[in-house]
């Protein structure tokens, strides 16, 4: 007889929701979270797409601590001395189930944990799980401090830097070309100032990504998300490539804050937090097995994240995976079989959902970005030069557009441009 029907390691998006599903079905469930409260060790860019959370909590928009509804999508090609921005707004982005909100994980994860606790889940905070307990190759519990606690199924939702997945499913430490590091500062500003600066209505805001000079031409990009009374500003860069940079990631962030395109956004703001977090970006090919005897992986511990340059997603995958992990664990517990075979319902559910379909669809994209360094160097400069040709007026006679633009494109190479476009299309 186990101490609990289920133990969940980690109370983030995946863990709290898995626990909520289990507890709601009347199962005994213990959540072990190493932070002193849910969210204390977590960080996001970040933005939450609502379609997944609304499946679990249809009324989340009234209850959850959301920051701002995202009404502006901005993408910038950033050269050291110039910046070209596309600003997209659309009524389609505002339809319920298609919309998104900026969030901060301290408050958001606490809310999620409260939902699981109200459903009957028990919580231990402030204790890292250092080891899994195994019997004959099967996971039968966890070791936390001096205590061993047993469960019929253990659900690992312990994040991108899980130290348990090797023991659980034989997943080796990921390589530096499949993982990125994120750095972020939260910069406080009055709500009305934020709204004025990004041209948003009250309660609304922008998601803004930067490619090029934000990472000094290295693989990755900058981001800015507007919260209620702060801006989350940061950089995500692929670890293996960043390790060759002349500029460390924290200096990249400092320089980005001073870039003429960013400085006015945060002017007068006060940095209130400096954070770091890893981002898995290898797609389906780098993912570990999702189940083994007595154990399920969900969220970033299973590398469920995509980084497409113009879009970074992880929380909606974690929420859907946590939901399916919880529901599949309930079915396996009811059937009295929590071996890998008994838990395959989870894998099938994910294969049928957007989670594994997306991770499969985008699996070639990280390689495309890494092998197309022109995206981060030549193209932002090309766009700058082309725009300078269009917009800079100094009174000298204007040359025909063709005559001024063609040499710029030739400098990069027409074939390179065509090839990169084609490769990019194929990888999406």
């Amino acid at each position: 007889m186990s101490d609990f029907d289920a133990i969940v390691v980690g109370s983030g998006c995946a863990g709290a929701i898995a626990a909520y599903e289990l507890a709601s079905a009347g199962k005994s469930v213990l959540v072990v979270e190493r932070g002193n409260f849910a969210g204390a060790k977590n960080m996001t860019g970040g933005r939450l797409y609502t379609h997944a959370i609304s499946q679990v909590f249809p009324d989340f928009e009234e209850e959850a601590p959301l920051e701002r509804r995202i009404t502006h999508e901005r993408i910038s090609m950033m050269a050291p001395d110039a910046n070209f921005t596309v600003d997209f707004t659309s009524d389609d982005m505002l339809v319920s189930g298609q919309d998104s909100y900026s969030v901060l994980r301290g408050s958001f994860d606490s809310w999620l944990a409260d939902k699981a606790e109200a459903a009957g889940a028990e919580f231990i905070f402030g204790i890292p799980v250092e080891e899994l307990v195994k019997e004959g190759g099967r996971v039968v519990g966890i070791k936390a401090g001096e205590d061993e606690i047993s469960a019929d199924v253990v659900i690992l939702c312990d994040g991108a830097n899980s130290l348990l997945t090797e023991s659980a499913v034989g997943f080796k430490r990921p390589k530096g070309d499949t993982m990125a590091v994120g750095i972020k500062q939260v910069i406080e500003l009055p709500a009305s100032v934020i709204e004025d600066r990004v041209l948003a209505n009250e309660g609304e805001g922008a998601a803004w990504l930067f490619v090029g000079d934000a990472t000094k031409g290295h693989v990755g990009g900058g981001f800015a998300y507007t919260n209620k009374e702060s801006v989350s500003l940061g950089i995500v860069a692929t670890i293996s490539d960043l390790a060759t940079s002349d500029t460390p990631i924290y200096q990249m962030l400092e320089d980005m804050k001073a870039h003429p395109a960013i400085a006015p956004l945060i002017r007068g703001g006060r940095v209130v937090e400096h954070s770091g977090h890893m981002v898995p970006e290898g797609g389906r090919d780098m993912m570990p097995p999702l189940v083994a005897d007595g154990v399920i992986l969900a969220g970033e511990s299973a590398m469920m994240c995509v980084n497409l340059g113009y879009m970074v997603r992880g929380m909606d995958y974690a929420i859907a995976a946590g939901m399916h992990a919880g529901r599949s664990a309930v079915a396996a517990l009811d059937a009295g079989d929590t071996t890998a075979a008994g838990l395959t319902g989870y894998v099938q559910a994910l294969e049928g959902s957007f989670v594994l379909k997306d991770l499969e669809q985008f699996k070639r994209f990280p390689h495309f970005m890494e092998s197309t360094t022109r995206l981060f160097n030549e193209y932002p400069v090309l766009v700058r030069d082309a725009m300078n040709t269009l917009f800079v007026v100094d009174g000298s006679p204007v040359a025909p557009l063709k005559k001024s633009l063609v040499p710029l494109v030739r400098k990069v190479g027409v074939m390179n441009l065509v090839k990169d476009l084609w490769k990019g299309m194929k990888a999406l």
Partner: protein, 98 residues
């Protein structure tokens, strides 16, 4: 170090965070006399700037101020990062915003 450009003082930003440093145990341990090329990778990738090289070219590392992201474990887990574990119970960084 001469080719790495650093003007920002990250320690001032870390001072804004809430930390409970685990004084009893270093949760990250490096090998003795770490290879400099590997160490310089960590100078570049650690978002907390915990890996430093001074003007005389001397390498230093302090686990206090760690953001617990695991980037050094991924970058150099097979080379100069010997041990990587979590800080003890209730210790380490505590994000108030996240």
């Amino acid at each position: 170090m001469s080719d790495i450009k650093i003007t920002v003082n990250v320690d001032e930003y870390l001072a804004l965070n809430k930390f409970e440093v685990d004084e009893g145990r270093a949760h990250i341990e490096l090998v003795e006399d770490p290879d400099m090329a590997e160490f310089l990778k960590l100078v570049r990738v650690c978002p907390a700037a915990l890996y430093k090289v001074d003007e005389d070219g001397k390498a230093s590392f302090d686990y206090a101020g760690c953001l617990e992201c695991g980037t050094c474990r991924i970058a150099c887990g097979g080379t100069i990062v010997k041990e990587w574990g979590w800080p003890g119970p209730t210790m380490g960084v505590e994000y108030r915003y996240g």
